[in-house]
Symmetry: C2
Subunit: 134 residues, 2 copies
């Protein structure tokens, strides 16, 4: 059971690199040569981050991507949800027959609370915390 899939992982690495290069425009080629991520896959990821407005893209020669959001305002939770969809851990189990009174079920409360916790903790983790320092 993975909480973080490959594309989220790659996205994080790419964002770290971009953050460390400040506002410089970095091309996919440059990223590929530094991080070891398959080029077309990385391209797809960067395009997505662009659509989500975390990056701004520049077309044409000398083009590439640039971070548009401060690293302390980029949250791991958001990246996870961009690439993996909404974080839900309380789906399946609560169906008709299992849980007699779904509204008041203690179990549902517990699971909901786990989910809230996980979400809030993942929200605490920012890109900034991942940057190399000293």
């Amino acid at each position: 059971m993975k909480l973080i899939t490959r594309d989220t992982d790659y996205a994080v690495r790419a964002l770290i690199f971009l953050a460390q290069e400040q506002k410089r425009i970095i091309s996919t080629s440059e990223l590929v040569s530094h991080l070891r991520i398959p080029r077309p896959f990385l391209r797809k990821i960067l395009q997505r981050l662009n659509k989500e407005k975390l990056l701004k893209s520049y077309k044409g020669m000398g083009g590439g991507f640039r971070l548009t959001v401060y690293p302390h305002r980029i949250f791991l939770l958001d990246l996870i949800e961009i690439f993996q969809g909404p974080l839900r851990i309380n789906e399946c189990i609560f169906r008709k027959r299992v849980c007699p009174n779904i509204k008041t079920c203690k179990l549902k409360e517990k699971i909901d609370s786990i989910q809230r916790y996980v979400r809030s903790k993942l929200k605490d983790i920012t890109l900034e915390m991942l940057l190399k320092r000293e």
Copy 2:
């Protein structure tokens, strides 16, 4: 992102039914007629629970399964791990290039703590809590 997959879910439902029938021996057929789970899939699940010693099986005519563990000693976490493997959320992201000093990384600490929390909370949830009451 699902925390609980179909087989875990089915296992829970089957266990609930078995727990409610006390120590009576219940066949797959009876379970199938009460829960709506595809028979061969359910059989696979019951066999697994048997191997894990949560159930005891009885072969031959009149045979079936019986719960061998008290519902308050069956934990959701264990069921999840039986069917889905170890619960790990801190795999992927911490590889060579991303995290400069993996030993001391604050982020790893955070994720580890999330994992500990999730595990301990899932460990708090017992089968007993899922049984119908009043």
